[in-house]
Every structure is written in structure tokens, then in C-alpha cells.
């Protein structure tokens, strides 16, 4: 483990990784243990359905609030908030310490006089950061999958992988940001603070933006960067994945990719507000949607405006209804 800088960095974080792994497994185990109770409680599901949209959006952290289906449950309980949050914390801790940590401890002084180019040093640190977050993602995926199998939850490993990979990418994004800030300033605290502030801001925009859109009736202008970050945070696709809804997982993964080009944004954002805000909408809207299942729904002012207000929306529609229908008709 002392063969290279990246391996040495991994070696240094092995104890932390072990503890994180135990924690993640514990969290997943708890969620899985509770699931059968939640699923079989019609009263709870009924209650949740009657929440106002805004409340659902906030409680569901911008995602769906749907406890009935496996994907909806994992989505609202884990993938839309908890898992990205934890992976971001782990990645930011690793990223901020990667360069700034060594600098603050003073070990960087000697390290920099060794024959390693500076760029290579940062890349090796980044490599070990990615490896760390990927490891946590693997642990998550494995425990989710084992948990799902053991409580007979119908969700495929591929869908779980899609959600986990998205979360890992979100984590790596913020971890890399923390690494960059730490490398630029040499101050670990500053790196953690700035990155976390950005993450919180992204989260708030993500949760509040749909509400604002609902109120204003048009999409608020968001700077590109914030958009990218927001899209990454909301990457967890679990809440809109259905077993058998083929191809959706790929979209989930792309959702989480940090460097997502702007043109893809519109199309990729669609699933979240659709599955989130409206999928568990009011009874009236639900029934109307059921009727128009395979055709583009009639332009509902609030709905369309809230989603994008762009002419692109009808084009997107045809792909959407089947999964709505499926999730909707589930008792």
C-alpha cells in the first residue's frame, strides 16, 4: 500500500472507510427492516397521498413521496436525500483532506520535494478519492441488493446500481470540488465550509425551485452551475425507477454526471418533477391522467408551467405516461 501516493492515501483512510461502510450497511438494514410495515399499511399511504404537493415536495426532498412501491420507498427514504448526503459528506471529508490536510499537517513539505510532478500528485489524490467513494457506493449497492432480496422487495440490482452510481458521482463531484478548493487555498476548513455551503445551496434551490415554479407559473432563471449541481444532487433515480421500466436507469446515471452538457438538461430534468410533484398529485388530476394515459395529457396550466414551461414538454410526454400509469395504478 506504500507503492504510490494514491495507494498510500487509500491506506490512510482505511479505518474511516470501514466505519463508513458499517454505518451505511446499518442504515440500509434499518430501512429495509421497516419497509414491509410501511408497504402493508394502507392508512399511511393514504395519508401521504393526501399531503399537499408542496409538503410532499419538501418532505420528499424534491423527489417523490411514495411509500407504496419499492422504488418509491427507497427513492424518498434513501436516494433522494440520505444517500447523496452521506456520500457527499464522505467525499468532502476525503477531498478536503487530500491536499489541504497534508499541507496543514506539514507532511506536504517533504512530499513536494520528492520527484513527483504537482499535477500528478493532485491526480493521484483524486484517484484515491474516487476509489473511496466508489467503494462506499459498492457497499451501499451490495447491502441494498442483499436487503431487497432478503425481504422480497421487487427491485432489480441494475436499478439499485443506477441510483448508487448517481449518488457516487454526486459525491465525487463535491469531493473533487473540496479537493480543488483545498489545493488552491491549503486550508481544509475553508474547503469543507465552501463545498458544504454550495451543497446546501444546491439542495435548497432543488427543493424550493419547484415550489417557486408552482407559484410563479414559470421556471425561475438559474445559473448554469447551480443547475448542474442541482441536477446532480437530485440524481437518485430510485423514486422513479420501476422494475421492468427498461432504460430508465441509464437516464438516472446520466442525471448524476457532473459535467452534463446544458442541452440535455431539459429532457433529463423531466422525470423528477413529473414523478415527484405530480405523480402523487390530487385525486382529480390523477383520475384525469389515468384516462389520458397513452396520449399527451391536455395542457394543465399549473402542471406544464411548473415543469418547464417550454415547448419541449409535449415532445417529452409520450415516453412518460406508461410509468405514471404503472406507479399510479399500484394500490
Amino acid at each position: 500500500m506504500l507503492r504510490s501516493l494514491a495507494l498510500k492515501t487509500l491506506r490512510d483512510s482505511r479505518r474511516g472507510l470501514l466505519l463508513w461502510s458499517v454505518g451505511l450497511i446499518g442504515m440500509v438494514a434499518l430501512m429495509m427492516a421497516v419497509y414491509p410495515t410501511v408497504r402493508d399499511d394502507p392508512a399511511l399511504n393514504d395519508l401521504v397521498k393526501r399531503y399537499p404537493d408542496a409538503l410532499k415536495s419538501v418532505i420528499g426532498f424534491g423527489g417523490a413521496l411514495d411509500y407504496a412501491s419499492p422504488a418509491g420507498y427507497l427513492g424518498s427514504e434513501l436516494f433522494s436525500f440520505m444517500i447523496p448526503l452521506l456520500l457527499i459528506i464522505a467525499a468532502v471529508a476525503a477531498g478536503s483532506g487530500a491536499v489541504a490536510g497534508e499541507e496543514e499537517r506539514g507532511t506536504m513539505e517533504l512530499l513536494l520535494t520528492l520527484p513527483i510532478a504537482r499535477g500528478r500528485l493532485v491526480l493521484e489524490k483524486l484517484a484515491s478519492l474516487i476509489a473511496e467513494v466508489a467503494w462506499l457506493g459498492a457497499v451501499l449497492w451490495a447491502s441494498l441488493w442483499i436487503g431487497a432480496v432478503s425481504i422480497d422487495m421487487h427491485i432489480s440490482g441494475a436499478h439499485l446500481a443506477a441510483g448508487t452510481v448517481s449518488a457516487v458521482l454526486v459525491g465525487v463531484l463535491f469531493g473533487a470540488l473540496a479537493l480543488a478548493i483545498g489545493a488552491a487555498t491549503g486550508r481544509r476548513g475553508l474547503s469543507i465550509g465552501l463545498t458544504c455551503a454550495l451543497a446546501v445551496a444546491a439542495y435548497l434551490v432543488n427543493v424550493l425551485a419547484p415550489l417557486g415554479r408552482a407559484a410563479v407559473g414559470r421556471p425561475p432563471r438559474q445559473p448554469i452551475l447551480v443547475l448542474l449541481v442541482v441536477r446532480s444532487v437530485t440524481a437518485g433515480p430510485g423514486h422513479r425507477e420501476r422494475p421492468g421500466a427498461g432504460g430508465r436507469d441509464r437516464r438516472g446515471v446520466r442525471d448524476g454526471r457532473p459535467g452534463l452538457p446544458a442541452p440535455g438538461r431539459r429532457r433529463l430534468t423531466a422525470p423528477r418533477p413529473c414523478g415527484g410533484l405530480r405523480s402523487a398529485g390530487s385525486g382529480r388530476r390523477r383520475s384525469s391522467r389515468r384516462r389520458t394515459r397513452s396520449a399527451p395529457p391536455p395542457p394543465r396550466r399549473a402542471g406544464t408551467a411548473r415543469r418547464s414551461g417550454a415547448p419541449a414538454s409535449p415532445a417529452r410526454r409520450p415516453g412518460r405516461p406508461p410509468s405514471w400509469g404503472r406507479s399510479r395504478s399500484r394500490p
Partner: protein, 298 residues
């Protein structure tokens, strides 16, 4: 002709606090053991850090073996012992050696084991549990294990006991014999005068002088503190050749002695002396004198 081991031209580093280095011109030949002296905060470490590309000069240039110090190929030839040595607490000495050998692309551990044996350092201990002296020894091992052509040592003997210091000086002499250039910084002359051929004095970021140790020693003087049973008459001691009276606290007199000390001893024999304490001039004294000389000349 081969370029000098270290060459600085008008090297300047400006810090906001006013500290730094101003217009430093320096040339250290290959195979030379060079002492870099100055009080704390004079700019020694700043110069060394520019030599290693840990910081960049504000203006001027510094070359190591004719190359930019940031070049990894240059760094391969350098062994560095920081003044404020920080190592990985959870790694043992041996693990440090292994890690550094990999990062330096060395085939094995090089001289690490031999050096550690020579310094009586147990490489099996984690750094966390090492004493300050042992950490310093490990720092020396790490700096010298790959047989560097330039050894940069920032206050290397801090924390080392006298016996180990002797071993260390021996190691430096060995390295110099095998052709390595050694650059040692210190704030006290005795630390380098045994090994260094030439020394540079730096103060407030400016080079005060560069001279051979022998020449410098000529200018050094001895501080002698004598306690009498009753104060001797004023001028009784200062009249001795080469002796100046610096301070007087009751029956205790502080004298500066230049050159031969014998006349002073003979004179002291006339009085009842309770205690004599003498130390060789430290750098500060030499500086004071150099400044005084400069003021006289002006």
C-alpha cells in the same frame, strides 16, 4: 564547465509582513559543504524553500545544477531535511523509507538501513511514538537514503544529542567525500563550523558576507563572564590587549576577548575570582561586530 550546485541571482521574495529575502546572490560549488547562517527569521528557510520550489521567488532566479528547481529530475538529485520536520505519525520508520523509495522510483531502500544503523535509529517504531531526536534521525535517513547529489538541511541538528551530532557530522563528511554538495542552514555557528568549508551570513533577508569558516573564526571572539569576590577597579581588565568590557553587574563582569586569552588569565590571577564562565561567540555576536565595523567604516 559544470554549473554550480546552487546558483542564485538577485533572488528576492517579498512577504506582506516585510520578511523575506532581498537581492540574494549566491553560488555554491559542487562538492562543497556550505553553511547558511542567520538568526531566526533572517530568511534562511525562505531561501531554502525557493531552492526546492516550495515557494516561488518574487523576482530573480535560482538554479540547482543549472536547472529549474521545480523539475522532477532536479528533485530526484536532492535530499531535503525540513527545519520543521513533519512525518506520518502512523507509519514506522521503515514504512517511511519504503514509501519514499517508491516515490523516488528507487529499486530498493538504498542506504536507509545503513544510515539508520549508524544513527542508532530503530526503524520499526511508528513515528507517533518516536522522540523528537529520533524523528530528526529518521528525517536525516530519508534525506540521505538515495545518495542525493545535493543535500539541503534546514537546522539539521535540532533535537539531536551531542553524540548523535558527531555521527551526523561524520555522515555529512562522508557524503561530501563522495562528491555530494551539502547546504546546511543554522542559527548558530558551532553547528556548522566543524563541517562547513564556507559559510554565508544572512540577516533581515540580505546576505551580510560569504567567507570561509577559518576566516570567520578569526573574527570570532570569546565571551568570558567572571565573578569576583569584590568588584575590580574599572578599566583594570579592559586595559588588557584584545579585551573589552561589555557589561558589569556588581561583582560580575562580562568581557569580550579577541585572539589570545592568556593575557587575561594572567591579569585575573591578581584578583580573587569566584567563577569563570566562557562561551565561544555565537553568531549574534559576530553580527553585532560586523555591524559595528560597518558603522566604523561609514
Amino acid at each position: 564547465m559544470a554549473s554550480a550546485a546552487v546558483e542564485a541571482h538577485d533572488l528576492t521574495k517579498v512577504y506582506r509582513g516585510g520578511r523575506g529575502v532581498t537581492g540574494l546572490n549566491l553560488s555554491v560549488g559542487r562538492g562543497e559543504v556550505f553553511g547558511f547562517l542567520g538568526p531566526n527569521g533572517a530568511g534562511k528557510t525562505t531561501t531554502i524553500r525557493m531552492m526546492l520550489d516550495l515557494i516561488r521567488p518574487t523576482s530573480g532566479s535560482i538554479r540547482v545544477f543549472g536547472r529549474r528547481p521545480g523539475d522532477p529530475a532536479t528533485r530526484r538529485m536532492i535530499g531535503y531535511l525540513p527545519g520543521d520536520l513533519r512525518l506520518y505519525g502512523d507509519l514506522t520508520g521503515r514504512e517511511h523509507a519504503v514509501y519514499f523509495s517508491h516515490l523516488r522510483s528507487m529499486p530498493g531502500l538504498g542506504e536507509a538501513i545503513r544510515l539508520a544503523d549508524g544513527l542508532l535509529l530503530d526503524l520499526g517504531q511508528p513515528v507517533r511514538r518516536m522522540s523528537r531526536g529520533n524523528r530528526q534521525k529518521l528525517g536525516i535517513v530519508l534525506a540521505m537514503m538515495h545518495g542525493p547529489q545535493l543535500l539541503v538541511l534546514d537546522e539539521p541538528t535540532t533535537g539531536l544529542d551531542p553524540l548523535v551530532q558527531r555521527t551526523f557530522h561524520h555522515l555529512i563528511a562522508q557524503a561530501a567525500e563522495s562528491g555530494a554538495t551539502v547546504f546546511i542552514s543554522s542559527h548558530v555557528l558551532p553547528e556548522v563550523q566543524q563541517v562547513a568549508g564556507r559559510v554565508a551570513l544572512i540577516r533581515d533577508g540580505r546576505l551580510v558576507l560569504v567567507d570561509s569558516v577559518d576566516a570567520l573564526r578569526q573574527r570570532a571572539f570569546l565571551r568570558v563572564e567572571v565573578t569576583f569576590s569584590e568588584p575590580p577597579p574599572a578599566g583594570a581588565l579592559a586595559s588588557v590587549a584584545g579585551v573589552r568590557e561589555l557589561e558589569r553587574h556588581g561583582a560580575t563582569v562580562l568581557l569580550a576577548v579577541e585572539g589570545d586569552i592568556d593575557p587575561l588569565i594572567k591579569r585575573l590571577a591578581e584578583y580573587h575570582v569566584l567563577a569563570i564562565d566562557s562561551h565561544e561567540a555565537d553568531l549574534e555576536d559576530i553580527f553585532l561586530r560586523l555591524y559595528a565595523e560597518g558603522a566604523d567604516a561609514a
